[in-house]
Symmetry: C3
Subunit: 319 residues, 3 copies
């Protein structure tokens, strides 16, 4: 079975998930992103690689933040960007996902950036396009349910490589709500593909998927234990809806056990870096002193994220 | 009384309704649209005809789908597009329709694409602009109440001409909720203006306007009878709000009587084509087998719709 | 203490409020705006001064009207514009104001146009950017709480100068709900800075701030008295929420006492002009005969407003 993300020549056709993406493709995205970080520092932050291309931000789940990153990336590539916020709960004039896609494809779309609350929606779209002979339209997954958020995973890898140069000798810890996190899944797949020898997950038992070890990670239920000797700490966002649920005691108690403070961070290596996908819950999963401290690379992540998205878009649809 | 859509030289000034639009203007829009279908297939889908022009999508009624078609058409013509979704039910800061128009006109708007739940709103705007000496601003009706949806009617004509070449020997059936449909009205006016010798409407009595025969159509209340010998089937959308009302028995019963199935379509001519303005209610007014079948031209309609909107916009305001 | 709006060379760094802005800066904005009024009348309304710059419309309070003026101004300067409507009441995924700003700044923003219900929010952002060494990002206040709306004040000054040529011999009256109006505050500061010898405020006692005289104005509680001999009448919008409150008797009674009618306007100088920031409540603070009459310059205000915003944006971030 062919990887649905690659075309017949083994080139990137869609970006749906990091799982199963070959190492050389991952590295080539990171390499392509590097010069785009310079574009953002120019007086005129614009290059014509996607000029005259139509990029549709197809957001079935509202996310101003993520939509903004893709919109700015596409505009800096000179694409025409159309934002569609499609409220799936409003069924007043509802049509099926695939009818919506067919309709936009018929407008000569070049790319769909898809965000959806249901895992697998971007796959469904990519398969539908392939089955109906419209392989020239590209799909980028901007987050689907609990499944994947590949551009977040990629920008995290870009950030790690920027600060640590080499993946082959790192200990990386992913901390927090792994169970519900598409970010965690994308990060773990990327880290193992890129050859990180030790990937740890640190979380309470209630926030870990069953058989998480199968992903090739070491499991810790104690933050202090798990942070010992770590090079990179990847914090996860604790979603508000989880905090109100039965899975967790209280915000305060969660912070006490799994919130990253400077004291706990001191157990990691002295030059350890801290990542967070944002938006942060200060005082829940991360202490402000750490978030704003010298070892956080949270804002550089955002900067690199634009470059990585420009890289993906231009690899898929660039002139 | 001069046609408010034409200027003193008989050229298109606004596009408000197909009713009363001369045949040569209709044909010239279709002719202008033809080369724009090629623009959409280029590597760079962009031409500078509206460069530096300000197009306002003035949507008093929400319609992501229609707004998207106008937005992409205007952007491919290189216009600056501003989307305004004005919720008329929110009166918190409400100002009158004409004050809103005056305000935007004062920003040197070149074109208003207007969608409004009230029939006649785009006319009101065009008249106001004329009365106040601002004839250089153009109005395009993107659907007003139950009245008209002229670009939909035009793209349907483009589609019919594309597949059938000539209007003068066709039998065309418009099927469904004619009573509440601005699309039906625009289609019927366009078909009769372009010389289609037989236009039929097929609908239950409760979904037909009184004295519909005055529009120059033959009336059928039986779908099978009405489809016999037809060249073109134009399906209408059955709006959800109708289905919940007292006008109709149930979705199932409606489908049984007026839903287009392959079996019923076989009563039309062997090369009959099926149009639908979208979004479709599969299993209500149309069966999926027909919607996705070889005689449906529903997605080409969407493609041609972009070209037709580019044609209208460039005829109105192009350099 | 340095003026946070000016850089080390005394040039405009942010536009936060007219209060404390030097007279020569005010005049230089008006002078810069003049040629931009011609751009709006060109066939191609576009100049490349902000090409490749990223302007974020950061609206924490919804205002389609104000957002539109900044969007069209930025697009005519060829900027890439990203609209963000951030509903502060929705705390589902809420992050702090400054985390949002940090995040967008990390995307290499060049300018934030900020609208916020809380007075001082744009200052907070400007201070935060300065403290964190990101002075190259500019902040424009598009209205903050009851505090300031400087571009409205500036476009009012542009309008006054356009019609009256000279500020030094004018009597100007600001009429209406001064208490809750950020527009009034900006206007009063601008008028006094530009040397208008007599600025009057005319309002019922309940709609005036305590010690309003400290702003250098003459106070009137009777509209007829206050209008006598006036050159310029600046009407304020009476916000609907005020009308429902206990501060005022009724719309009808307010109109009777403080609504501007032609009869009352005749008490002003024969060539007096009438301004209104919009949207107007016809029949509340202003009679339609005045709003649409020969002395109203309300639509020219809107036109000049685009030019003034283009001037401010290009002074801040232009090539």
């Amino acid at each position: 079975m062919r990887n649905p993300q690659l075309n017949g020549h083994g080139e990137l056709q869609h970006l749906l998930t990091i799982e199963g993406l070959p190492r050389d493709i991952l590295l080539s995205i990171l390499d392509t992103a590097a010069p785009f970080t310079e574009v953002a520092e120019r007086e005129v932050k614009k290059i014509p690689l996607l000029r005259g291309k139509s990029v549709f931000n197809l957001f079935f789940e509202n996310s101003t933040r993520t939509r903004t990153t893709f919109e700015i990336a596409a505009k800096r590539l000179s694409a025409d960007v159309i934002n569609l916020n499609i409220n799936t709960s409003s069924t007043a004039k509802g049509e099926s996902l695939l009818d919506t896609v067919d309709n936009l494809a018929a407008m000569h779309a070049d790319m769909f950036v898809v965000r959806h609350a249901s895992s697998g929606a971007p796959f469904l779209i990519a398969e539908h396009l392939a089955r109906t002979g419209r392989d020239h339209i590209h799909v980028v997954n901007a987050g689907d349910g609990r499944h994947a958020h590949p551009t977040q995973g990629l920008l995290d890898m870009y950030t790690v490589r920027h600060y640590k140069k080499d993946f082959s000798n790192l200990v990386v810890a992913v901390v927090g709500d792994v169970l519900h996190s598409r970010v965690a899944r994308s990060e773990i797949h990327a880290l193992t593909t890129l050859g990180v020898p030790e990937v740890r997950v640190i979380a309470p038992k209630t926030l870990l998927p069953t058989e998480v070890e199968r992903l090739g990670v070491r499991v810790f239920h104690d933050l202090k234990e798990g942070l010992k000797g770590v090079d990179v700490v990847m914090m996860l966002r604790l979603q508000n809806e989880r905090m109100q649920g039965a899975l967790l005691p209280s915000r305060q108690e969660y912070f006490k056990e799994f919130g990253l403070t400077q004291e706990k961070l001191d157990l990691a290596k002295p030059d350890a870096i801290v990542l967070h996908p944002g938006p942060m819950n200060r005082g829940v999963e991360i202490d402000s002193a750490v978030a704003d401290g010298g070892r956080a690379v949270i804002l550089p992540q955002v900067t690199f994220g634009i470059a990585v998205r420009m890289a993906v878009m231009s690899m898929l649809a660039g002139h």
